[in-house]
């Protein structure tokens, strides 16, 4: 009995490992298919969310990531709420006790919850709050300097 339990828990861990591997493989493949391939010095630098990989670890973080973080937290918490819902509410005994009402109630509750969040997300999307906040760049107005910028960009693109 005891060994069986151990085996069961190990198999869960195995499932997690396989799932993790699959997840990373699939996402890498999808990115491979989707992204454009222009190898230049700048695009080949390893990076994480626009942060410089080399330098002080205490560097400032772009404030515009706040929006991403906020959305992540929102939907992360949503998922945290859905786990107990799936485990506790999907109780066969309770369902039988209440004569089938339990199942429908919990299902509808979860749907209302997810739909409301989805409605909010769609609204925010439509209001263009999810977009990367645009910052007005004050380019120098002198012609010569602008020409230099263009030359530099061309050089980078050629490489």
């Amino acid at each position: 009995m005891r060994t069986e339990n151990h085996f069961n828990q190990l198999s869960t861990a195995l499932l997690f490992i396989i799932g993790g591997l699959l997840f990373s493989l699939i996402s890498l493949t999808v990115w491979k298919l989707l992204r454009s391939n222009k190898p230049t010095e700048i695009t080949q630098v390893a990076y994480e969310s626009g942060e410089e990989p080399i330098g002080s670890a205490l560097g400032g973080f772009n404030i515009r990531f706040y929006m991403v973080a906020l959305l992540f937290v929102l939907f992360d918490v949503e998922l945290v709420f859905l786990f107990p819902w799936a485990v506790v509410m999907g109780n066969k005994q309770f369902n039988e006790m209440s004569g089938g009402v339990w199942g429908y109630t919990t299902l509808i509750e979860a749907f209302v919850f997810v739909l409301l969040l989805g409605f909010g997300l769609a609204y925010a999307w439509k209001q263009q709050w999810l977009g990367w906040a645009k910052v007005a760049i004050n380019r120098p107005k002198m012609k010569q300097v602008n020409r230099e910028y263009e030359l530099f960009n061309e050089q980078v693109n050629r490489r």
């Binding site: 006790m97 209440s98 004569g99 009402v101 109630t105 609204y123 439509k126």
Partner: protein
């Protein structure tokens, strides 16, 4: 657990009793739908569309049914004493809609987003009045709070976001305290339902110190919405940055709802520990004194109004010191008196473009604006509580309640409360009469040639004028006849 689950179907069927409020929450989502199309411009006339769900709600709840049956395993109840609080909450929420023109809601006028948050704030306030369970109460207050945070920042400029964020941070701290206090009460009593006999029994058994701690934490969340003393700091900030209709809403509707909540919650606690009334008394007295003293030293009328509501919140708490019939009717009367005069002052300040005036800019205004100044004088007299106006009834009622409490309990606490409240009513004379003093007694100075454009009430915005006249008549005429009849 088993007996709860077996009656799940029956309990769900009872939820039709909560249909009006649930409908309001669902219908409020309709005001978000225009956001899905490209055009964000609203017609000023859409502002009045907010009245439809409010009227529907009052009709469904008030004229068709006030069911006594509790639902959700006793988490929602419909006590008879909450009936009038309910009506006042919904009714006073309608006045800022008709009392202010669309342009008062922000730079581009009223927006549909504001409509959504306005309606959900009302729904939250009403649900909090109906909740008999602390967690449901907390959720209802959160619905009210989150909508208020957006409304306060809905002018969408730099100052408004700053004020809104401050309001949000203080509010989050207060609601966190409240949640912590609720967990204490649950730990002490083993139930969240404050109408349950177990709740009172549990409070009696526990050590008073623990109960006081938990109560202070819970009251923190409630006094924040009530804008009473320990958590009143947000008021002046919000008054300065928020659009005037929102200010009018926030200064009345959450107060009425929270007073209704306290009226349900406090009897249970008084039953267990009668000395708790002293706690409420201290909160009330502290907000009266702090609000008054801070209002005295303000330079801007709008900030004076902000701090004066803090002291008014203190006066509104005084009837809660006792649970008698007289206290109940006095509380309701004082809510009407305070709300009407408060709405009147804010409507005049906004519609004549005097929101950001300093006191000295009002000098000699009575000659150029006789009627608005006369109305302001009456509203201020009513807020102070001087005899010819309706305000006197409210204040007189408060002192009667305190006298009754003194007689019943023979506690000098009530006596001191009465004396301090009376003294503070005299202090209120100075700051409330500052604008009328400048307007009626000071000569028109050079400073009055301000560049602030005047926005007189025109034929286009006839609703504000009407509501103003109505409030004026109620306060002066009704007050006069009622006083002489007494």
């Amino acid at each position: 657990m088993q007996e709860y689950i077996q009656v799940l179907g029956v309990e769900l069927g009872k939820f039709s009793g909560l249909l009006p409020e649930l409908l309001l929450l669902i219908v409020s989502l309709l005001w978000l739908l225009p956001g899905f199309s490209k055009g964000q411009k609203t017609n000023p006339i859409w502002l009045y569309s907010l009245l439809i769900p409010i009227a529907g709600l009052v009709y469904l709840r008030w004229f068709s049914a006030w069911k006594g049956q509790s639902l959700g395993y006793g988490a929602i109840h419909f006590p008879e004493t909450s009936k009038y609080f309910y009506l006042f909450t919904a009714g006073f929420a309608a006045i800022p809609i008709i009392g202010f023109a669309s342009r008062s809601w922000g730079k581009n006028g009223f927006t549909f987003q504001q409509g959504f948050f306005y309606l959900s704030a009302i729904a939250g306030a009403l649900l909090s009045l109906l909740s008999a369970q602390l967690l449901v109460l907390y959720l209802a207050i959160e619905i009210l709070s989150f909508s208020s945070y957006f409304l306060a920042a809905s002018a969408l400029n730099k100052n408004a976001s700053e004020g809104g964020i401050k309001y949000l941070l203080q509010g989050s701290a207060a609601s966190a305290c409240m949640l912590y206090g609720i967990s204490w009460l649950y730990g002490i009593t083993g139930t969240l339902n404050f109408t349950h006999p177990l709740f009172i029994e549990g409070l009696k058994m526990a050590s008073p110190f623990t109960v006081y701690m938990a109560l202070i934490l819970v009251l923190g969340g409630i006094t924040f919405k009530l804008s009473a003393f320990p958590l009143h700091v947000w008021v002046s900030n919000v008054y300065e940055v928020a659009p005037m209709p929102v200010v009018a809403f926030l200064s009345v509707v959450p107060k009425v709802a929270m007073l209704g909540v306290l009226w349900q919650l406090l009897p249970a606690i008084y039953q267990a520990i009668p000395q708790v009334y002293q706690l409420i008394g201290w909160v009330a007295m502290a907000s009266i004194i702090v609000g008054n003293v801070t209002a005295l030293v303000q330079k801007l009328p709008i900030r004076t109004m902000a701090y004066s509501t803090v002291s008014q919140a203190g006066y509104l708490l005084l009837p809660l010191l006792s649970g008698s019939e007289l206290a109940y009717s006095t509380l309701l009367a004082y809510i009407i008196v305070y709300s009407l005069a408060n709405f009147g002052v804010l409507i005049i300040l906004e519609n004549y473009g005097w929101k950001s005036f300093t006191f000295s800019q009002f000098a000699g205004m009575a000659k150029t604006h006789l009627w608005p100044m006369l109305a302001l004088l009456v509203f201020f007299l009513s807020l102070i509580g001087l005899p010819p106006t309706l305000g006197f009834l409210g204040k007189a009622g408060l002192f009667l309640v305190l006298a009754e409490g003194f007689q019943a309990l023979k506690s000098t606490f009530y006596l001191w409360m009465g004396i301090l409240a009376l003294l503070n009513a005299a202090v209120a004379l100075f700051y409330y009469l500052h604008i009328p003093y400048q307007a009626w007694l000071k000569p028109k100075g050079f400073e009055t040639n301000s560049k602030v454009p005047e926005m007189p009430i025109s034929a286009k915005t006839w609703w504000p004028a009407q509501i103003l006249v109505a409030i004026f008549i109620v306060i002066l005429v009704v007050g006069f006849f009622w006083n002489s009849w007494l």
